[in-house]
Assembly symmetry: C5
Homo-oligomer: 380 residues x 5
């Protein structure tokens, strides 16, 4: 219970770090597997159905759970049930019964912190993946795909806009999507979700570039925090992409019998994209690690510069102050001719000032020759 | 012997580090394998038996070792023997004889520092795992599962509360547990134990968050100690989880013939959880490593700040003190008109003080332009 | 759209870092796969054809797309279609139709940020690789090879000079190239592309050598930037070479039936070169990482040297100034014989100066014995 | 030759680092394989034989090489030939001939710096392993096991005490050892040797704990040396344990036909111990690496503390000295009423001292508020 | 061309780093594979032949290329053709024709910067390995072995002394070499080459030991350079040993049909040595990396020591100078009794000096208690 509240708070805060580190599970340890513990604050469950055949598309919009079995019974078309909101246990359980979904699968659907994975149950395929959300950058939500020969069910927490282009393409009668089965539709959804990571990584890459400038010019603890924030987001993205790649690989390798051969070609393309995403993520991680070095080095160099200039000032004046101290001594010239006769010289004072100036100049010249000070910064 | 005492002391101290680094073995090197060296201070052995069939559950409570063979002989129900306390060698050996447990297995049961593993002995399966304990965080105790077609024996040092929910579910007549065999019961126990690591990692994750604030605001050697403490606990948790994952994988891969097919589906779920736990552990380890960087950087920056302000104070006053030193010189103005005529000027002293103030202000302005001092911190 | 512009800008700037970190894709996430989005600023598509048989070579120069099917129909010779410029969607689609290229392949050809890979489509083989460009160092452009039993199509963005030697060899009647089929021609192209990385790595290695000297002698933030620049280029080169090695390995392992056995021997040679390139890249990366240590250490040592000399100056003068201060005190010798009688000694002042000199010399000797100052740097 | 001397010196010095880094080979590069170069300073070869059957044990003590063939000929009992000292080439060659040992094996026996390994020669098995020695900690000596169906030959440099418990168990008539063959005896020897690493790692772990305290409280270059010493020993232990694990794995996997099935169960136990040892070694290595961070951080913090307190003292006194300098100036009050009238005030001096005290207190309060100084350390 | 010259220069300089980082290839990218570009400055090609049978050895010394076919035709003996100097393309091409060497192999022989590898061409085996050279340490030269059923051809750039012991053994009639075929001869050569790395690693290990002392006692940028030099050599050695191990493994695994079974046993021994060499290399690399830490830490500690002593001197004198400054103030005692009456006290001056001494002693005692200064270093 405590953990649930906490989780919700984090979500309400729209914390900009883009993801929680410790992915909390909602069921207490020891509860029976398959127990459906629905988040009481989750949005209510809405089912949207699009049925299509090569010839026609039938966008049924919101549909009651009771209509689902009838819709699925029709063999002449592919049915896409788009479930948004995981707050209604009754509806979800009815749906699971209608589409032949195992209790454990339903539990995974509702506990929205699964690793991406691919599981086969007879001729059904269950896929878990995570979709990027537009706001905040780096945040993801779990999308479950449950796939049968003539239907695809997608289940997600909130209405994500990643799938909108797929819907648009379905409505377009010339689209290849309309000609193919549920397997190709599933591919299209997976492809849209995978490609959604490109802009996220681009955004992170741009932020890294900006941070490099910041780390060189004005490094502060805030810079450090920002670098860590990006490293953390990259870690989370990688933690999602790595099993996603595995999931796509499994799907590609394990030949689901009713998948068309041609879909495999497209899946391979999607798998390639996931490899490319991992490449980019790893490059970004390497850059971010290097940035830490830049930051530390830059901090040190800025501090050194301060210390150097200040110490030079001190060092120049210390011998001068010593000379002034010497001629401030009170040795009595009336007791001995050796006692500070300089004080009575006609040009004693001017010569003293002159020698001080000469010493100061000599030191600055020496420092400059040793390249400890730049051109003209301390002479004035 | 020495090592045993030491071990007990550590346990009595309830040392908050949550685990010993070097897992001590109790038998001397070179003793015969299968030698049963029982810890003399271990709690006495208590056997609790719950027998169940789909129709009825029979919670027999504490049972004498002599009754065990009779209980196991009944084929119509599944018997769960829950052994707590590993202090009584005679009872344990009788039990081992009754359930067909190899001497080496019994030795592993008693030497409570095994790596999690899965071993098959004919139609018996021996599983070693480690259960988290509520107090202190991160501590674990070894739980052995010995599994036959009609019975499950769990052996643990102390009464852990991880298994209580499983017992509760057994008493519930509607529970799926009652419908299934010993394999499903073993799964339920493994699942409860695995899920017990989620709160532990959550606790460690929260402590890491708190430490990040501490490392930024007031880094000290204590902070360093705390970071190291968490890294150490994460290392120990990982050292347990990694072979646990392997153990579950072995159980999943090696088809024990009398396991029901459906149990495999549930085991896969449990295996997924172990993967997820390892993911989280690795993320935490990465964060903890990053925290060390934050700590070191923060220490440096705090120190630099101190040094900077102090050095600025010094630098501003050094030229001023030099000027005061000059006018403290005793050049005799009665001997030469060049000797410090300023001292006799009407506005000599005020001008001197004014020039000192001007120099100080000029330096502060210069420092501020170079962004070495912030807004308004040193002017007053 | 935004991303495209950005990409073009980067290319126009001829940024010397030699490659973009985040490889941008040109299609929006969610667009239908196989959609051909041609970069509007890409150069127009030009097709050059060389057809050859052992006896004769026929360099047809620029050829219209309409002639291609006729050229490919001739079975008695091998046709190499060299496509430069990917700006004309109509031509590319006609070409794809003529040579039996899948839509997805065409999409990969046009989206010039693919990972090197090898894909087989029936008896066609599609290879993606990246060719180094002479300017700037480290930049690469994508080269696609589409290979059938009697033809090779190479597709690239700009006219690269890597392939010129291959063309020259084709024109030479004694060349082995003329005797062999399209498979050997493809090998020759791949070999030329792979070998193109040797000069690039050599250049980077030489720059590393130069940076080592710079890091030791005059380390600055610029040095740091240069080291990071090289590390980044090496990372990009590695990101290209790694999948290129994989691609060559796949080509070697998957036996394309119409490849001659002898070509395999040559491909193994090419594969060896890719291994060697990866070895060199990794060595360079290791050196570059070590260079960072050198840089940091060198910065620290230079700073320490400054601080040391300056602090020594300060320390020598501080006790002297103290003595001058003592004899500047105004204790009245007329009130007590104990009050500073030294001031009235005949040799008071000379002795005072002498003792100051002795103290200064003693300290310098001490510092020198402790090896804090070198021979003769501070005595004068 | 040079290398041999060096090696002996190292051993005579009983250098406490517990092992040489570069394991020297005794034969010159290019000598014929199988050449027996015996260390001239190695102790003379002594053969001790224990023959046993389930009913009786026959401890023959030291035996001449000529008796060996006769002893081995007896089929009714298992013969254990315990060879100590590798200094007598003639005896060793006779022995090798008697037990059918390949020349290369004999060379490996004598060159006591082999990696642990398992090799099969027909029905003979040759095992190389390394035994810990009690003095110094971390030192190991090579033990070779040559194993036939009815005999076991162990060969070691010096009399190690690891095997004494095995001998004791053999003499015990109730021991399982007596009931089994040469394979089980070999297992018992391997188990005793493997378990000998637990106390060594425990010792190293305890030293690490002690070093952590030292690193925090009084870090010095000695601490650094000690940390490096432990890391080095752990590296050497790991370099031994890793191939030992491999060796046990090979023995477990490759089914030697005359090994009893039951022995395999025991070997699996031994293999588990080697895994556990590697786990502990890796944990220790990780701790030791972390200790280096603690050391560096602690050094820095101790230094910073010194610098901070000292700089604070300086900073407080610098403004005060400035004020004293001002009132030490010699502006003539008789020439102008503006010239230092304060010097003639009735309370001039006390007010001056008071203002100095106020400035000092104000600075200390400021420093304390900024948390740069602790409670009450500088006020007195 | 430029690259070739450069390479030669490096070799003439006998640069002590022992190897070039970027292994240059001599052929231009894009040249036809199998093109023989002989280094014009390479020494002329000399062929030495030793033919042997169990009964007799026939050391033919230098032999003209025209005699080779005749020598190879004799079936009753094994012919070893030892080719030194790769400067004569005509001779090399004739030789290649005589022994059935593929053009690509000949190209690899002449381009002396190959990775060690094993390639089979029908019943011929081609092996590339690298031999250590006595001068400078760490330098290697490429040795190619071309092996047929009745002959072995070794090809190297310069006359290396690694193979001399093999030649000596051939001349010895009792040697096993004489009894065996070309496969055993090849093994003997490989063994001699592999064992040649032991002294090199020993040398590097000794240098590391010496550097550790240097890094602790007098760390300088030269030390850093030396550490980097050793790391670089270890990197190069590892880059050679790793593929050499692979090459030996391939030779061991791929059963060349005409290899005698017994030779395999010897090859396994050679393979073991390569593993051992890699172990030692990795240990050395780890030590070298640790040395960098020692170096950095030692630099820091030496600097800290300087700063600490110097700062203590400053801090002790600053309060004393302040007191002297106070009594140097010119408050007029004739205007007010409160104005510095101390100056007129009978014991004013002695008490002032005494209090100064007390303050100095108190500070030193305080510093000593805080353990910032050692015993007796600053009191005098």
């Amino acid at each position: 219970m405590r953990r649930e509240d906490e989780l919700d708070e984090t979500e309400e805060d729209s914390e900009p770090t883009g993801g929680e580190l410790v992915i909390a599970r909602r069921t207490e340890p020891g509860t029976a597997p398959g127990t459906l513990v629905v988040d009481p604050e989750a949005p209510p469950t809405v089912l949207r159905v699009i049925a299509f055949a090569p010839a026609a598309v039938d966008d049924l919009g919101e549909v009651a759970i009771t209509e689902i079995p009838g819709l699925l019974a029709r063999e002449d078309r592919v049915t896409w049930i788009d479930v948004v909101g995981l707050g209604d246990a009754v509806v979800l359980e009815s749906l699971a019964a209608a589409i032949g979904m195992h209790r454990l699968v339903l539990e995974d659907v509702v506990n929205v912190h699964q690793r991406p994975k691919c599981e086969e149950y007879g001729d059904r395929v269950y896929l878990v993946t995570r979709m990027t959300m537009s706001e905040p950058v780096g945040a993801t939500e779990q999308v479950s795909l449950f796939l049968g020969p003539r239907f695809l069910v997608t289940l997600q927490e909130q209405l994500g806009d990643c799938l909108e282009p797929v819907r648009r393409r379905l409505r377009d009668s010339t689209s290849r999507l309309r000609q193919r089965g549920a397997d190709y539709l599933a591919y299209a959804v997976l492809d849209a979700i995978t490609d959604g990571y490109f802009p996220v990584l681009e955004e992170l890459g741009e932020r890294l570039e900006a941070l490099e400038v910041e780390a060189l010019d004005r490094p502060s603890l805030t810079t450090l925090g920002r670098i860590r924030g990006i490293k953390r987001e990259l870690m989370l993205v990688r933690r999602t992409l790595w099993p996603m790649r595995e999931m796509l690989g499994t799907l590609l390798r394990d030949e689901v019998p009713w998948f068309e051969t041609q879909t495999r070609v497209f899946l391979r393309d999607c798998y390639d994209h996931s490899l490319q995403l991992l490449d980019i993520t790893d490059s970004c991680r390497e850059l971010a690690s290097g940035l830490m070095d830049v930051y530390l080095s830059s901090t040190g160099i800025h501090m050194n510069e301060v210390m150097k200039v200040l110490t030079i000032v001190s060092t120049v004046f210390i011998p001068l102050t010593f000379i002034a101290g010497v001629y401030g001594m009170n040795f009595k010239d009336d007791k001995s001719p050796f006692n500070m006769p300089e004080l009575a010289y006609r040009y004693g004072y001017p010569l003293c000032l002159l020698s001080m100036a000469l010493i100061a100049v000599a030191m600055l010249v020496y420092f400059r020759r040793k390249r400890w000070i730049g051109a003209g910064s301390e002479q004035s």
